[in-house]
């Protein structure tokens, strides 16, 4: 694509109105200057076009009763039926509410943890300790949710270690995996255990790039640990943290499909149904591809609104954000 556009640079200059010509000329000049950059982007652009945008065309099935074997061409069109079914279902909105509240708690209680942990790890002065600890804390990321949940049950379940101690001492069981009020704390505890070490990686990489001279100057000015953190470390981390936060907001309605699906039944869907599990039970398992696609679009639209807003806020704060 880039090449064909570039090939046209020898065309005669336009002879229309002067202003338009200047604008066009400016654009053409920009195009010429961007030739190499466009070439660099070409593989990526091609990838996104083919594997994302062509595939995204498949979303027209939100207007269909899609039958895989018949294909889009031969599946019956049902207009807005899928919209009506989905948005008229109180369970859908219940799931949306559960999702938003879990996502909010994740933002508050999970998002900062990797940053704090990274600061702690970064402050370790003995090199081998720091490296060893770093390589250990991110390991749980590689354990699948099935096994993470099983490990938590070995500890906290009715037949687990903790309740075993309780039972031995004549106390009653605590049903951690079915008490509705414990659903969100449990989800967040599991998430922190599994992923907070993994989350430190990018923060650590950013911390390594903080200019040492700033620390030095700040220390000479008599700033203690706390002031250096506030005036040097955090401002240096701000761009990457803002980026991570905006991207998280775009994906806010994904709160962990596997994790929730595995534990949803115990807590009952009133508290534990989230949009992804709702879509699974109302779309995927039934082969109702139209409503499933629609729920995906709903999630994307909510993410889009949040990204746009968050990006605006980021610009106000003088940050680059995800786009400008």
């Amino acid at each position: 694509m880039a090449v064909t556009l570039a090939d046209r640079r020898t065309d005669d200059p336009p002879t229309s109105a002067a202003g338009s010509a200047r604008r066009r000329g400016g654009r053409r000049q920009r195009l010429r200057r961007s030739r190499l950059l466009l070439l660099m982007m070409a593989p990526g652009v091609l990838y996104f076009l083919v594997f994302h945008y062509v595939a995204l065309l498949g979303n027209v099935i939100v207007f269909q009763d899609y039958l895989p074997f018949a294909g889009i061409a031969n599946s019956p069109w049902v207009g807005l039926d899928n919209f009506r079914t989905l948005f008229a279902d109180p369970d859908f909105w219940q799931a949306a509410v559960n999702t938003v509240s879990l996502a909010t708690l994740q933002l508050i209680f999970y998002f900062p943890v990797p940053v704090v942990l990274a600061l702690l790890l970064h402050s370790l002065t003995r090199g081998w300790v720091r490296k060893a600890v770093q390589s250990i804390v991110y390991l749980p990321h590689f354990i699948s949710w099935v096994i993470v949940v099983a490990l938590f049950q070995q500890l906290l379940g009715a037949a687990g270690v903790l309740n075993g101690l309780f039972a031995d001492n004549g106390y009653h069981l605590v049903n951690v995996f079915s008490e509705p009020s414990l659903f969100k704390p449990l989800m967040i505890a599991e998430l922190i255990w599994k992923d907070c070490g993994w989350g430190t990686i990018i923060v650590l990489a950013a911390l390594h790039n903080v200019d040492d001279q700033l620390y030095e100057a700040s220390a000479i000015d008599g700033a203690g640990w706390g002031r250096r953190l506030w005036h040097v470390t955090l401002p240096s981390l701000r761009p990457v943290l803002v980026l991570l936060l905006i991207l998280r907001l775009g994906d806010i309605l994904s709160v962990g499909f596997d994790q929730v699906l595995l534990q949803r039944d115990g807590f009952s869907p009133g508290v534990a149904e989230v949009l992804d599990t709702y879509t699974y039970y109302h779309g995927v398992v039934n082969g109702s591809w139209g409503p499933a696609a629609l729920a995906g679009i709903f999630k994307g639209l909510v993410g889009l609104v949040l990204i746009v807003v968050a990006n605006k806020v980021a610009h106000r704060l003088g940050e680059e954000g995800v786009y400008r």
Partner: protein
């Protein structure tokens, strides 16, 4: 509920099962194809021609008790002459519950089977967890394998897909035509019935299963010390008393990874999913006894009889809890019995908890294998009659019954390579079959086509007798589901979702999160959202076929 009405239910259930004209529902709503059978000439089902190779030590019954064998037959028969295949490549998509087999070239079991079949069998093995996604993409891609096994009625539009894209097998298997494939003619009529017809024609070959499908395994010694004997006639009160005695600190009498409501409903006399009376279908949810059962299970849960976290427990873990005595019962499929017996070893005796209560109506299954339990079959890609016949001969080989050389090859492998013969004549797996992975779990031909299931646990005659004894007691009072073989479009499109909603309410009630009084509202909702439509469609289908 009085006895006569109960017996009537049993009778109608039985009638529906025995009737020779089942069918599948129309897909309706203006779609070009119609999978319904109403008003169409119905192709006769394959004629049942049983094969009796070996006399069972404990004979099964027509009602559905399995043939049981205490020892392995000494002389094996050959049921297939020559090679069924023509040397061509045969592709097949089938479910797997095992791990990946080594490639055909280096796999002695696969090589031997290819050699015997006379084809180059190329398998696309689909892990159970990915079944729906993989089959949906296969259908969407339109690039079908020659043999499409484990098509599941729970997959959306399974019937429409089969009718549109798969081979009509009627002329090859209907009526006496099946006699060209004697091992397929040996499959019981009920399994063909529950696969049913599509638009009056035959498309699918069943993978048969025992009639008694869902059971509750029990830790016999523990249960008996608490007064729960392994036989019929334990009253509900006695059963509850036993549970109370057994529920101590870290021990939970009722285990599993769900509440096994079917078992408890059957015990209370709620017979199967649907009841057919006077041509009308009534759901189990509308049974007045249902809320009583919910109340009972709710009490039991509150008293700690159930393992409290069972709803978020994985099947493997639930099995382990049963095997180590944390839980004393376990709901499961009867096919899991041999594995459970060998997993428990000498720790205790694995037996079957009999339906308790005064007049229980234990539920029978649909007699065919499917991943979802709703039913399913194996179909063939459209091809020339010669090729269809060749593929049917391959299926015929795979369906060879117990006591044949073909059965031995598929289930135990090659003598001296995959198994050796023990002192009592039982086939004992070699290291190549166990740690080497060359076994029927990893090469799951058993889900493409199979013989009627027999009861045989190598080297464990006692365990075989226990299962046989339990089936002798349970199957005669068992009730089948009259909706088997009838498929309603609403059920096909909404069934999974509707079931999930009602299961959610059931779970919430039993675990005390919602009051039992919420039940009637949930049932009304279920009825209005599709339950009534399903009942109506089932009745129409049933009437059209009678």
């Amino acid at each position: 509920m009085d006895i006569t009405r109960r017996s009537l239910l049993r009778l109608t259930g039985g009638l529906a099962l025995a009737s020779a004209v089942p069918g599948l529902a129309a897909c309706g709503d203006g779609s070009a194809t119609s999978v319904g059978n109403a008003g169409k000439g119905l192709a006769p089902l394959p004629t049942y021609t049983p094969i009796n190779l070996v006399k069972p030590d404990l004979p099964g019954t027509a009602q559905g008790v399995q043939d049981a064998f205490l020892t392995y037959p000494q002389k094996l028969a050959q049921t297939v002459d020559g090679k069924p295949g023509d040397g061509s490549v045969v592709t097949c998509m089938v479910i797997t519950y095992g791990t990946a087999p080594s490639p055909a070239a280096s796999n002695k079991l696969w090589t031997a089977i290819n050699e015997a079949l006379g084809v180059d069998l190329r398998l696309t093995l689909v892990p159970a967890a990915d079944l729906n996604a993989k089959y949906a993409t296969m259908m969407a891609g339109g690039d079908l394998p020659d043999i499409i096994a484990t098509i599941d009625l729970a997959m959306s539009n399974a019937l429409q897909f089969t009718q549109a894209k798969c081979a009509d097998l009627t002329e090859f298997i209907s009526g006496d035509a099946i006699k060209d494939y004697p091992n397929l003619a040996n499959l019981p009529t009920i399994s063909w019935q529950n696969v049913g017809r599509i638009g009056g024609r035959l498309y699918g070959v069943p993978v048969p299963r025992p009639q008694l499908a869902g059971v509750m395994f029990g830790n016999r010694e523990k249960l008996e010390t608490a007064g729960v004997k392994m036989g019929l006639g334990v009253s509900t009160a006695q059963f509850a008393e036993g549970l109370a005695k057994l529920a101590t600190g870290k021990q939970f009498p009722l285990g599993g990874n769900n509440f096994s409501e079917n078992i408890h409903l059957g015990a209370a006399g709620v017979p199967s999913n649907w009841v057919l009376a006077d041509g009308a279908f009534t759901s189990r949810y509308e049974n007045p006894v249902y809320p009583e059962v919910l109340q009972r299970l709710r009490d039991w849960y509150a008293k700690g009889y159930f393992y409290p976290d069972l709803l978020s427990t994985q099947a493997t873990q639930a099995n382990t809890f049963f095997m180590n005595g944390t839980t004393l019962t376990l709901g499961g499929g009867i096919g899991g019995y041999p594995g459970m017996v060998s997993g428990v070893g000498d720790a205790f005796t694995v037996d079957f908890v009999r339906p308790y209560g005064d007049d229980p109506t234990p539920w029978l299954g649909n007699g065919v294998f499917s991943n979802s339990g709703r039913g399913g079959f194996t179909a063939l890609k459209k091809a020339s009659p010669e090729r269809i016949k060749m593929l049917l001969r391959v299926l015929n080989f795979l369906a060879a019954p117990f006591g044949s050389k073909e059965y031995e090859l598929i289930n135990y492998g090659v003598a001296g390579v995959h198994f050796t013969t023990g002192a009592d004549g039982d086939p004992l797996p070699t290291a190549l079959a166990t740690t080497g992975g060359e076994n029927k779990t990893n090469l799951p031909l058993q889900y493409i086509a199979a013989a009627p299931y027999v009861l045989y646990l190598p080297g464990n005659a006692d365990a075989t007798r226990r299962s046989y004894q339990a089936q002798q007691e349970i199957v005669p009072i068992g009730v089948g589901d009259p909706s088997y073989g009838l498929v309603s479009p609403t059920q096909a499109a909404q069934g999974t979702k509707l079931n999930q909603q009602i299961t959610d309410v059931t779970n919430a009630i039993i675990t005390g999160k919602r009051p039992v009084s919420d039940w009637s509202g949930a049932v009304s909702q279920w009825k209005s959202q599709g339950g009534d439509a399903i009942a109506k469609e089932l009745a129409e289908q049933h009437a059209a076929n009678h």
